[in-house]
């Protein structure tokens, strides 16, 4: 397979959600001595972008979306050691802390967002479900993440998203972090009301939101 064919196959493997192919193509690229950063940018990333388009067109549903995100992960697992050895930032998108707020054990939606962010090149620190609010801050301080995503599925627990903003203010850290909220009962109006930096209604929208909020991201 020449380089152009390889890159095309990588894109196709991601669109098809084929984990095995995505990883073996990455290994082939490494053996051929290709630049791993170029492979990610011109092979895999166009694939996940196409998946986002197919989702928005109503062609793809959650199983396709998640399979593609998983394929992306398996390719990155092969390429990351190469990128690191060349001292290339493995996750150019930056770091993100995510979790479902305390009192709430629902994590399907949060997992979707975490997977899509990972697939889009972010380093995601997923704290799981029923996460104490202080833990989000501790993890962000420890990892250097600047974006914190809070999920809540219950109207009874979404108030914790509001409490979290208050907690950041108390600690004098509000300006340091971008706080994004999501989950069934959340809305753009709710995000505005509690002073969050953004709201996304689904995993694809969440990736767009995070990108738009980056310095120079156009928001």
């Amino acid at each position: 397979m020449n380089k152009a064919e390889l890159l095309k196959s990588m894109r196709e493997a991601i669109v098809a959600g084929d984990r095995g192919a995505a990883a073996s193509l990455a290994a082939e690229a490494v053996r051929a001595g290709l630049d791993p950063a170029e492979v990610v940018e011109t092979g895999y990333v166009p694939g996940i972008q196409r998946v986002g388009e197919l989702w928005e067109q109503g062609e793809y549903f959650l199983p396709e979306l998640i399979s593609s995100a998983e394929a992306m992960k398996s390719a990155m697992a092969v390429l990351e050691p190469e990128l690191r050895s060349r001292r290339i930032e493995t996750r150019p998108g930056g770091r993100i802390v995510i979790g479902t707020v305390e009192g709430d054990i629902h994590d399907i939606g949060k997992n979707l967002v975490a997977s899509m962010l990972q697939a889009a090149g972010y380093e995601v620190f997923d704290l799981g479900a029923d996460v104490k609010l202080e833990r989000f801050i501790e993890e962000a301080e420890k990892t250097g993440a600047r974006t914190i995503c809070l999920s809540a599925l219950l109207t009874t627990t979404m108030s914790n998203q509001k409490r979290f903003i208050g907690l950041l203010r108390e600690k004098g850290l509000r300006e340091k972090y971008r706080v994004l909220v999501g989950g069934a009962p959340a809305s753009r109006k709710w995000a505005d009301e509690i002073g969050a930096d953004g709201y996304a209604e689904n995993a694809v929208a969440a990736v767009k939101l995070v990108k738009s909020l980056e310095p120079g991201g156009g928001a």
Partner: protein, 489 residues
């Protein structure tokens, strides 16, 4: 006279029922279930299950589960607060109760969902008390003005003060069970009396796939020992927390529910258990759990058929909708579920009043849905041969001038054969226009006010009221809460 046929729906081929049960039992034996409760693991272990302590995993052999099935009563009798009206939960009996538990109420005036307060819960209980086709109450709203540490008991306490119907309820905390049981015993006149005449069903939900949490397992153990029926609410979401195929989801449903049943039986052999659930077809675009999807209703009707095969009382979350207001979707999803559930012979159908993926309740919808339930009960009564001959004798001496409207036969039978119209519009067009083009939702709103006006509180003795107040106050104090929301009858 020819016997009346009760209309009945069976979705599964009998061989498929047996295969699903067989795979469910094998799954329990090979894969097992995670039970995050040390006491239940001990009990299961003593009864012969293979326990893996470190991972909290229990593998239940076929013999153990079959023995547990054999010791579970095939039907349960619930009684109202006075202990007079008896409701059989078993056979093909059908009892509707409001869907539970919502955190918001649809405000008729604004047509917006808002957080439910204690005053809303009071109206909810009073209204349901007047709705004759909802045989059971539910602790159906979680009010935001009550601290969460006591919310489970408080909603039952309030319900017992306001309603005489049997309850469907459940715990939010392990500590909630004792005061809730004490409240029930206070109304019934003692723990032994409560065991003989249960007043409430407690819901307990496994966490799919194949896990029973500490809270819900403890509820099973506590209820079994007190003789309170546990309703097992397995709730796989197709393709997300259970297999994408309906039959695959049913296998998991059987395994999860039978593990719950076994926990009840090893805690107290012979304890009452209901084979229920709240599974759903998972929406692969929105990531939501539509209760109004036809596939959800198919799963429900099918596991009810399996429950009957296992000779167990059954329950399902049906007759509810995912619509956000009382629009056509709210009506068709609710009616479709009510009809299918009833035809499947589901004994306890939780759903009326509910909107928005089990998260909202609407008083207007409760009234509309009560009318749906009335039609469903009529449907279940079937078509009877009332007389012999059926018709021939009525045609003797018949002429074109014969007025059937004035015929004694009409007067004799029309009220028995036909239910009188509820809120559904049956006006001729012009009359409907003249009457102001009123929608069923507006009529329901007027009816809610009328019903709340005519509500009569249950005749609780002063001593019982005092005892309920004392139990509630003590539980609140123990949780560090010294004030409860003020409410009035």
């Amino acid at each position: 006279m020819i016997a009346t046929r009760r209309p009945k729906l069976e979705l599964l081929n009998g061989n498929l029922v047996e295969k699903i049960v067989d795979e469910g039992l094998t799954l329990l034996e090979r894969q097992g279930v995670w039970v995050e409760n040390a006491e239940a693991l001990d009990l299961l272990g003593e009864a012969g299950a293979v326990i893996e302590r470190a991972s909290q995993r229990a593998r239940l052999g076929r013999k153990l589960v079959e023995a547990c099935l054999a010791s579970t009563p095939p039907s349960i009798r619930l009684y109202d607060a006075a202990g007079e009206n008896e409701y059989v939960v078993g056979g093909d009996e059908v009892h509707f109760n409001p869907g539970s538990a919502a955190v918001t109420i649809l405000d008729h005036d604004t047509q917006e969902e808002r957080k439910a307060a204690t005053r809303d819960l009071v109206d909810f209980y009073k209204l349901v008390e007047t709705l004759e086709h909802l045989h059971f109450q539910s602790t159906g709203l979680i009010s935001y003005d009550v601290p969460s540490a006591i919310a489970d008991c408080y909603r039952l306490y309030l319900g017992l003060r306001l309603s005489a119907k049997p309850f469907v309820t459940g715990t939010f905390r392990v500590e909630g069970f004792k005061p809730m049981k004490d409240c029930l015993a206070a109304v019934r006149g003692g723990e032994r009396e409560l065991r003989l005449k249960p007043l409430a069903i407690f819901d307990a939900c496994p966490s799919p796939p194949l896990k029973w949490s500490n809270l819900t397992t403890q509820s099973l153990v506590d209820c079994a020992r007190a003789g309170i029926p546990s309703e097992l609410i397995s709730m796989g979401m197709t393709g997300a927390t259970s297999l994408a195929t309906i039959s695959g989801t049913l296998v998991q449903h059987v395994a999860e529910n039978l593990c719950g049943l076994a926990i009840c039986q090893v805690a107290a052999p012979g304890s009452p258990v209901i084979f229920g659930g709240s599974p759903s077809s998972f929406d692969m675009r929105k990531g939501t759990t539509p209760m109004g999807a036809v596939e959800t209703m198919m799963i429900d009707a099918a596991y009810a058929q399996i429950g009957k095969f296992l000779k167990l009382p059954t329950h399902a979350y049906m007759a509810l909708s995912d619509a956000k207001v009382n629009d056509p979707q709210a009506g068709f999803e609710t009616a479709l579920g009510a009809v299918l559930g009833a035809l499947a012979g589901v004994n306890v159908i939780s759903g009326p009043g509910m909107l928005d993926f089990e998260s909202a309740q609407s008083l207007e919808k409760l009234v509309i849905d009560d009318g749906i339930c009335a039609m469903v009960y009529r449907l279940l009564d079937g078509i009877a041969q009332r007389e012999d001959p059926i018709a021939l004798d009525k045609f003797e001496g018949f002429t074109p001038e014969t007025k059937l409207l004035a015929h004694p036969h009409t007067r004799q039978w029309y009220r028995k054969e036909h239910i009188l119209a509820g809120l559904a519009d049956r006006d001729p067009y012009e009359a409907w226009v003249t009457a102001g083009r009123t929608s069923i939702v507006d009529k329901a709103h007027t009816d809610v006010a009328r019903r709340l006006e005519k509500y009569v509180p249950p005749p609780l003795g002063a001593d019982v009221r005092g005892e309920l107040d004392r139990i509630m106050a003590a539980y609140a104090r123990a949780a560090g809460i010294d004030r409860l929301p003020v409410w009035e009858l």
